[in-house]
């Protein structure tokens, strides 16, 4: 009897949890629907953002580009660092050092993004201002650097698992052939673990693209189309955080912010689904003998 009750309750609660996720998506889509139907794709392709003008200009292109630029830039720096860190932990680190680094990685993921943003703003931005004589040091590059630090723990941990899951036979065979251990790591282990490493990068990209506080404090928040990595920009998340409080609920401005949220949500869902697919298949690539 108790068993049937427990089964039923757990099923019901899970149904509710699933509905909650759907509700979030539906709610955000519904709130932004009016601007999608009247602006259509101009919302993503347009680059003018002045929601209070008449008629309102609602181009989110600048923000979409900033988001992608910041997140891809972070991946560009984090990939080599993170993969080397993972190889180090999996292959070279003495047990005591790995035993120190793993909890450190864990703790790094626990530091809130507003603190990363704050430290980045007081250290990096100051440094850029002083050493390059810039009027203000914020840039997409700054935001990328701090995001690198933030996503590094995720990339290292996930890639380490991928590298460790390469069967020991490959290592033994390669070492028996007399090649050096760095060569084994670079030419044998990394290629064999490439699917897992790709998964780590995608995970990191998702984290970086959805991050709010650090980019809000570091990217500079200007509404111009970013011309390079070193110009300022305002990613989607920062736009929402800055303008939601001042937008009148139900106005075009408000609806456009929900459209920004929907775009961000869709980017993240695509990333997560890809990740699920990659994880599902990853067992098949390396055949365990």
């Amino acid at each position: 009897m108790a068993d049937t009750m427990a089964r039923f309750t757990s099923l019901m609660v899970s149904v509710c949890a699933t509905i909650l996720l759907l509700a979030i998506v539906v709610f955000i889509a519904r709130e932004s629907w009016p601007v999608w139907s009247s602006y259509g794709l101009k919302l993503i392709a347009g680059t003018d953002w002045s929601p209070l003008a008449r008629p309102p200009q609602l181009g989110l292109g600048t923000m979409v580009l900033s988001t992608l630029w910041v997140a891809l830039g972070a991946m560009f720096i984090a990939a080599p660092l993170g993969f080397s860190g993972a190889v180090f932990l999996a292959e070279f680190a003495p047990a005591w050092l790995a035993g120190v680094i793993r909890p450190v990685l864990n703790i790094l993921t626990g530091i809130p993004s507003v603190v990363y943003g704050f430290v980045g703003a007081t250290v990096l931005v100051k440094w850029f201002e002083v050493s390059f004589h810039m009027a203000s040091g914020e840039s997409l590059f700054c935001a990328s650097l701090v995001l690198t630090v933030m996503v590094l723990p995720y990339i290292v941990t996930t890639s380490e698992v991928a590298i460790r899951s390469v069967p020991a036979e490959y290592r033994q065979a390669a070492l028996a052939l007399g090649v050096s251990r760095p060569y084994v790591a670079l030419r044998v282990l990394l290629p064999l673990a490439k699917r897992g490493l790709l998964g780590a990068l995608i995970l990191g990209f998702g984290r970086a693209a959805g991050e709010t506080m650090a980019v809000l404090m570091l990217a500079g928040n200007t509404l111009h189309l970013p011309a390079s990595w070193f110009s300022k920009g305002e990613p989607l998340s920062a736009l929402i955080a800055l303008e939601l409080g001042t937008s009148e609920s139900g106005s075009t401005h408000y609806q456009a912010l929900f459209a920004a949220g929907l775009i961000l949500l869709i980017i993240l869902f695509i990333i997560n689904l890809t990740l699920t697919i990659i994880r599902k298949d990853s067992g098949r690539v390396v055949r365990k003998s």
Binding site: A17, I24, G85, L105, P112, V115
Partner: protein
Amino acid sequence: MFWSAGLVILLVLTGIIGYLLLRGGSSLTLEFLTTAPKGLPLGTGGGVLPAIKGTLLLVLIAVLAAAVPGLITAIYLSEYGESSKFKVLVNITIQCMAGIPSIVTGLFGYAFFVVYLGFGISLLAGGLSLGIMIFPVIVLTARDALLAVNEQYRLAGAALGVSRWYMLHRVIIPQSAPAILSGILLAMGYAAGATAPIMVTAAVISAGMSGGLMEPVMALPYHLYILFSQHISMEKAYGTALLLVLLLLFLNITALLLKGRHRKGGY
């Protein structure tokens, strides 16, 4: 090359904490912890007591709202789901939910709790938004904790013919309790440090100490953001940042230790 990557990771953590200790250590006094912000503009003097209280209340509401449904969903996924299609769907949904950026959770919280249900910018709206944000974290950590219980116990239980529910509440949940608790602590840390959802649903620059559910609150991470972005007081900002990091270090290290103990306890 590989060694340097490993050392960079260590340097980053010690660098951040060392830097904050160095710059914020002097402003983290007893007075800072026990008084309300003072001065003009507000925050240049005094302390952060209302922000500490606000953060604690927000986390409390989030955990109250998310822990029980989270645990039950985890139990469904690990014990009752068998291999049904619906279980796969729930798993993917929870993964997707874990990937929702916190600002989008805030956006939903604003539209639903603040505007649609008419809570206004309030403690309740912020706490519930944080609850939605930490829900997938609790589900995933609790699911893994339940699945990590030694298969021997399940087999022995099945061989003795006891019901699944009996096994669950007499053997499996007590066995995995430290790891589940560790997951909840991690989720609390996540909620305590999150800024984006509360800056649109709950937090304000200054609020009293009343702590009513329908009133806006101050919160540590938002207070830090405001002190910095409005150039109110860098000295107080360092102190707030240090306090926030110490709070999260405490939560995360406790969580790690609990999980470590659990791993040694099993066999």
